[in-house]
Subunit: 506 residues, 2 copies
C-alpha cells in the first residue's frame, strides 16, 4: 500500500457511507461484533479511547460535586412497573432473567432450572433501582442534594444493531440526582448538559447543538429532556448525550420523600443524565476520512507512534537508542494535564506499518531513520493532514512544542467539523424546499444529502409525526438559544413561535 | 458520643465477629444490601475505595504489557458447555436470560415474552466468550502473546450472601492471556500472582501467603491455580486473588490455534486471573477495630478530613479561611504519585462529626480551632492510634511532612497485620493438637479461634475431604516457598513431602 493513489478504506464515504462506517471500524481495530446477538467486543484500541473519555468526563462530574457509586445489574419487574410511562418505554427491549441455575435436562444437555418467583430485568437504565436507594438515604432536606453517578453496562435488546451506535449491551454512565427544590433540579439538568457539551466540543472536537426534545421524544417518565445533537459527515444527526428533568415523577414512584425546613413532608425533585460508548461512533463519523479514523488528541488511545526505519542491520542499535530516548523525552511532556501517550512500532512490515497507524487515526506518526538521526531531526506526519504531507522537524523543537502541536490538531479537527456543520445547516421556510432538502437527489447514493434544517414547527405532535412518516426526518431539538421568532410551521402552515432543528438521525 | 468510654461499633469483634462485620460496614457507609436478592449497593465511600484499588492495580497490569478491552455480558449456553469441568463448576449459580421483552399478560400485568431460542448466561467469568475472540485474533505465533484484561461485573447466584465477601453480583477484573509456549504461560501465571501480592501488601497493607491450590480447590477447567491468602482478625483465611494456568484446555475448547515458527499448527497456552470487590472485605477485616474501619492511606477514599471548630460566630470567617488554605496546601502535596485527597466537614453536629470519620476509617482527622490558628498549628488524630490520642503539630511541618506521615500509617497497618498473622500461624505435627487448634474453646464465641496451621498433608483428596468434613477446615494453599521436608500427614499419618496451610476460610 506504500504509495497507493487509492484510499485505505473501501468503499469511501461518498461511495457507501454505512459500509464505510463498518469498514473503518474494522480497519482501525476499535471493535467487532460478538457471537452474542447485538453485543460487541470493544478491542484494546477502542477501549483505550473509552478509558480516556471516561477519565475526562469523570473529572468534570466530580468538579460539580458528583460522587460515583454502584447499583445492582438486575431490577425486579415490579420496580420497573412503578412508573407507567417508564416501563412502557422499555418493555419492548428488556432482557429477562428467569432462572438461577442450570441442570441436566432429559436429553443430557443443560437446561435452565431454579425458576425465579419474580423475573429480574437486566437494567436498561437505573432510575427505579437507584430511586429505591435514594428513598432510604433521604429523610431531611439536610440530606439533599444527592449527586450520584454510576459507570456501568446496560442492556436494551435491539433487533438491528450497529457497532457503538446501537448495540444490545453498551457501556455508559448514568447520573442520578435528587434535590429539595424544582429550581435546583432544573439547574442541575442544565449543568450536566453543559458538561456533555464541553466533553463533546473540547475533548471529542465534535460541535453540538444544545436543545430540548419535543414531548414525543422525551425520556419515558421525564418532564423535560435536554440533549446535545452533533452532525455526522453524512449530515445526519447523532444524539450524543441527554439530561432529564424528572420532576417528582420518579420520586413519587420510588417514594423519595423528605422533611423540608418547615418540617413538612415533600417529594424530592430528581434528574438523570447519560452518555455512552455511542460517543465513539460520533468521533468516527465526525472526523474519519477515507483513510480511516482520526482521533482527537485529547482522548486518543495513543497520541504519537514512533516508527524507527532500519534498512541495514548495522543501523539497528543506534536507531533504536535514538527512538527510545525520544519516547522517554516525549513521555516526560504533558498535554492537557496528562503525560503524552507514546508508542513505538518496530514491526518489520514495510509500508503497511505507517498505513496501519493512519487507519487507526493516531494524531502523529514520527519516522526515524539514520538520516533523521544525523540531522538530529524527526519526520512527522499529522493525521489531520494528507498522508503524504510529512515534515522534517528539529528533534528538540518537536519535543518542546509537542503540547502545542497536539493542541493545534485538536483545534483543527474542531474547526473543520464546525465548518462542516455550519455549511450543512440551513434556514428553510418553504414546504417544498424542506421536502427537497430531505429527499436524496441521487438514488445511487441515498445516504448523503440534507443536513440540519432550522425551520418553524407548530408545536403539534401530529405534524411532527407526519414529517417523520413522510420524510424519516425528526425534530432533533428545540435549540436552547433559539430566539422567539413568530412564523408559520414549515410543514402545516400553522403559527409557530420558534425554529427547531429538523434532521435525519441515527 | 463525645467522650464515650464504649466503642463506636456494637457488638465488638470479640463479642460477635460476623455481626461486627455487618455493623462496621453500616457505620462506615461503604455499602448496603439491595432489594435484589444477593446484590449490593456500593455507596460513594465504598466505591471511591474501589476506584483507588482499580487505579493502582490497572497501572500495575499495564506495566506488564496488559491492555484493557471489553467483552459481552452474556454467554451463549453452548459456549459454557465447551469445557466440561468449567460448566459443571458454574452450572449451579448461573443467572439465565430467557426472554427479550415484556408484554401485557392475561391479568394486565407484564410478563416475559420473546423467548430466546438459546438461553444466555450472565457471565460468571469470561474464559469461554473471550476464548472465542482470541480464536479469531490469533493465527500466527507473531500474534502472541495476547495480554488482555477486563473490568466488569459478574454474576454467580448465591443463596447466602455477605456484603463484599459473597454477593450474587460483584465487580472484578479478569485477565486473560494466550501464549505460544507453556513456559511463557506459566511465567505469566506467576507474574500476575506477584501483582496481586504487591497490591495486597503494598496498597491494602494486607500481608498474604502466595501458594498453590490443591487439585480439588482449583478453578474449574484449570491445570493449576495459584492464590494469595490473607488472615482476617477472626483468624480465618480470605482468598484475595487467584491466577490460573489453564494449559491448553480452554484453547482446545475455543479453538485458539496458531502456526508456530515451523509453520505447524498448535493450540495456544492460556492463563486467567481475577480479583474483586472482595478485597474491600479483606481491608475491613484486616484493619478494622471496634470503632470502625481503618483505611490504608494509599487506597483510602479520602486521606484527610479537616474539621473546623467554630464555637463563636465571629470566628467563622477566619477559621474557614484558615481551613480552606490548609486544604489547598495539602492538595498540592503528592502521596504515592497522586495529589493528597482532602475533604472539609463543616457540619454542625458536635462530637458526632469526629466519630463519623473515625467509623469511616479516614487516616487523618485534623481539628482546626481559633487556638490552633493563633499558634499556626493543627490538631491531628491518626486513625491507626486510639481516638483520644491526638497531637498538636506546627502547620507547616504537617503540610511538608504529609507524605511521610501517610507512609508511616500505611507501614504501621501492614506491620500490625503481619505481626497478627505471624502470631496466629503455627506449625502443628500432632493430630489431636490439630483438632484442638480448630475447635472453639469457648462455645459462646465460636468465631475466634485457631489460625493458620502449617502442617503436613499426604496429598490425597480423601484426607483433605475428611478434614473439611470433620473440622470445616480446608487447605488454603501449598505455599510457593514451602521447603521440601519429609514428614507424616497430620490427619492420616501417611507420608508427606511438604507442609501446607490449613485454616477455616471465608
Amino acid at each position: 500500500m506504500g504509495n497507493q493513489a487509492k484510499t485505505a478504506i473501501t468503499p469511501t464515504r461518498n461511495e457507501d457511507y454505512p459500509e464505510w462506517y463498518q469498514q473503518v471500524i474494522k480497519a482501525s481495530d476499535l471493535a467487532e461484533r460478538s457471537p452474542v446477538r447485538g453485543c460487541m467486543v470493544i478491542k484494546p484500541w477502542g477501549y483505550a479511547l473509552w478509558e480516556n473519555i471516561m477519565r475526562s468526563m469523570d473529572a468534570m462530574f466530580k468538579t460539580t460535586g458528583v460522587q460515583n457509586a454502584y447499583f445492582p445489574l438486575f431490577i425486579p419487574l415490579n420496580f420497573l412497573e412503578k412508573e407507567a410511562e417508564h416501563v412502557e418505554g422499555f418493555a419492548k427491549e428488556c432482557a429477562v432473567v428467569s432462572h438461577h441455575r442450570l441442570e441436566k435436562g432429559p436429553d443430557g444437555g443443560l437446561v435452565p432450572a431454579g425458576q425465579l418467583t419474580e423475573p429480574l430485568i437486566v437494567r436498561p437504565t437505573s432510575e427505579t433501582i437507584i430511586g429505591d436507594s435514594f428513598a432510604k438515604w433521604v429523610s431531611s432536606y439536610r440530606d439533599l442534594p444527592l449527586l450520584i453517578n454510576q459507570w456501568a453496562n446496560v442492556v436494551r435488546w435491539e433487533m438491528r444493531t450497529r457497532l457503538f451506535l446501537r448495540t444490545s449491551e453498551f457501556l455508559w454512565q448514568e447520573g442520578h440526582t435528587a434535590h429539595a427544590t424544582q429550581a435546583e433540579a432544573i439547574e442541575r439538568t442544565h449543568m450536566m448538559l453543559d458538561v456533555y457539551a464541553q466533553m463533546a466540543e473540547q475533548y471529542l472536537a465534535m460541535p453540538v447543538i444544545k436543545g430540548r426534545k419535543t414531548p414525543t421524544e422525551r425520556f419515558p417518565g421525564a418532564v423535560d429532556t435536554l440533549c446535545i445533537e452533533a452532525m455526522m459527515q453524512d449530515r445526519k444527526a447523532l444524539q450524543a448525550g441527554t439530561s432529564h428533568f424528572l420532576g417528582q415523577n420518579f420520586a413519587r414512584a420510588s417514594q423519595i420523600k423528605f422533611q423540608n425546613a418547615a418540617e413538612k413532608e415533600e417529594f424530592a425533585w430528581t434528574t438523570s443524565w447519560g452518555s455512552s460508548t455511542r460517543l465513539i461512533g460520533g468521533v468516527i463519523m465526525t472526523h474519519g476520512d477515507d483513510d480511516g479514523i482520526i482521533l482527537p488528541p485529547r482522548v486518543a488511545s495513543s497520541q504519537i507512534v514512533l516508527l524507527p526505519i532500519i534498512r541495514k542491520d548495522k543501523d539497528r542499535d543506534a536507531v533504536m537508542a535514538y527512538t527510545e530516548s525520544l519516547a522517554r523525552e516525549l513521555r516526560a511532556q504533558h498535554f492537557h494535564h496528562q503525560p503524552v501517550r507514546v508508542q513505538i512500532d518496530t514491526r518489520d512490515i514495510g509500508g503497511a506499518r505507517g498505513w496501519d497507524w493512519i487507519k487507526k487515526g493516531i494524531p502523529l506518526r514520527v519516522e526515524i531513520g539514520p538520516r533523521d538521526m544525523a540531522n538530529n531531526a524527526v519526520f512527522v506526519g499529522r493525521r489531520d493532514k494528507g498522508h503524504r504531507d510529512k515534515t522534517a522537524m528539529a528533534r528538540d523543537e518537536f519535543v518542546a512544542g509537542i503540547a502545542s502541536l497536539l493542541d493545534e490538531i485538536q483545534q483543527n479537527l474542531f474547526d473543520r467539523a464546525k465548518a462542516f456543520q455550519q455549511q450543512h445547516t440551513t434556514q428553510i421556510d418553504d414546504r417544498q424546499t424542506f421536502i427537497d432538502y430531505f429527499t436524496p437527489a441521487n438514488t445511487d447514493k441515498p445516504e448523503i444529502h440534507g443536513g440540519f434544517a432550522l425551520a418553524h414547527w407548530c408545536g403539534k405532535d401530529a405534524c411532527e409525526a407526519e414529517v417523520k412518516n413522510d420524510l424519516t426526518v425528526t425534530i432533533r431539538c428545540i435549540p436552547l438559544d433559539s430566539p422567539d421568532e413568530p412564523g408559520v410551521c414549515v410543514y402545516c402552515g400553522q403559527p409557530s413561535a420558534k425554529r427547531v432543528v429538523y434532521a435525519k438521525a441515527y
